[in-house]
Amino acid sequence: MSNTLEKLKTALLPLVGFAAALTLWQALSMTVSPDLPTPMKTWEESREYVFKPFAKRGEMDQGILRFTWYSLILVAKGYAIALIIGTPIGFLLGLSKGFHSIFDPIIQILRPVSPLAWLPLGLVLFLSAGKQASELGALFTIAICSMWPTVLNTAVGVRSIPQDYINVARALKLSKAQTLMKVLLPATLPYMFTGYRLSLGIAWLVIVAAEMLTGKPGVGGFLWQEYNALNYARIILCILTIGFVGFILDRLMGLVEKRFKTA
């Protein structure tokens, strides 16, 4: 009895939060920010993009899920690069004191740099690539910004492998490669996946900045275009979409992470 009540509460309470946010939004647009579209107006302006999510009317006029899809593909590529580069670097940092002393300072300095700062550098780096330059620059930015949690968590994971496991590997005379594959890697997996989840969050965060500056079609590019077109309602649609997709990505990675935690 009280159990069902509890369940009802946990289901209903978030709605209260949403209602409060909507009210605040409505109040803001009616008072201090007259240019901010009201929730109702936002919905009116956005419904076409929501109800025909995969429509393609032009390069920068497409359904919201189609835009999301473009963005996800770009993120997936940049994220993959981040993992492929970040995981081995993390392993080296965790395994070798020397490697750690050499590269940790530079990592600590590069880590807090904002995506907005990396992007111009990315464009410059790939200037010779011509038409591809903006895409490559965006990938570079996503990869370099989202790599750090993977690098650092993997390193911590490797460093916190209990001596016991290493002793087992030594007592069984596992070769270096076997020790890596059969002991170090499985022992580090839970940490690696925590890193992967955090990295995915950042990769998705960066996408908007990247698309805004490169002008590629996607949620971020669409957002920027609608801002320039003074169509503020659709900015809010984009924001909500970005938030929602980010939330789902995090949840999915959380599930994967949990699977490895119990192992």
Partner: protein, 302 residues
Amino acid sequence: MPFLELKEVTKGFGANGSRTEVLRNINLQIEEGEFVAIVGYSGAGKTTLINMISGLASPDSGQVSLGGKPITGPAKDRGIVFQNYSLLPWLTVSENILLAVDQVFPDWPPEKKSHHVASHVAKVNLSHARDKRPAELSGGMRQRVSVARALAMDPQVLLLDEPLSALDALTRATLQDEISRIWQDNRKTVVLITNDPDEGIYLADRIIPLSAGPGATLGPSIPVDLHRPRDRKTLNQLTRFKEIRSQVIDYLLASAPKRTEVQKTLILPDIEPEDLSIPKPLMGGRKQPIRRGDIRRESVEI
């Protein structure tokens, strides 16, 4: 020539300045097929000693040799049961043992390997749990997996580092019987580290006390000339059992750091506790405030 031999072995930890010698002048000779128990205090250096036999650690001076050859590192001819089980938590019981079998018998066909694993799982009565992970097992079950893993390597020497010390008395007795049975089946050379003299006497051919550290060293080697199979119930009534037991315990007690009374003048802060608004019981129940110049007795370990 003895099968396993430690000659004048010394081992310490720490850099020059803060170095402490853990083991000093260790001499030990073990014949092939012998079951030797080493009993000592916690922290005396028992694990350090067995690590040097397994090859996981090397002595600072002196030699450790097996079959006449110096030990330079771990090898498959020595199976070790670690004090803290050391199973890999992401592998099941069978997989943990298979990892060892894969290493020692790489040329066997897969069916032979899995049969070998299954028979060792059965040997320690864990067939019902063969697909479980260590986290799903009790401490005693984990310990048995660890024993099975070492046995499956079919080593010439079995090194047991307090394999039963984490267990309750009943499980402990059962596993002692299991170890005794397994040893009588295949008569491997066994070095058993334990903190329980009774356990050593019940299982071993010879029992050697390790004195308290730092700078621990092995005491006299005491032969356990009690016929096998030994009966746990009547064993501790035998006069010979009592003799061995008291020899071991006397040696260990005599080696323990002595406590001496020393007189010292301590300069203590001149604070009057009654000035503080803390209620008396919180001050440790002491009635008299301690004043400058008080003389106190202190126990100091020398």
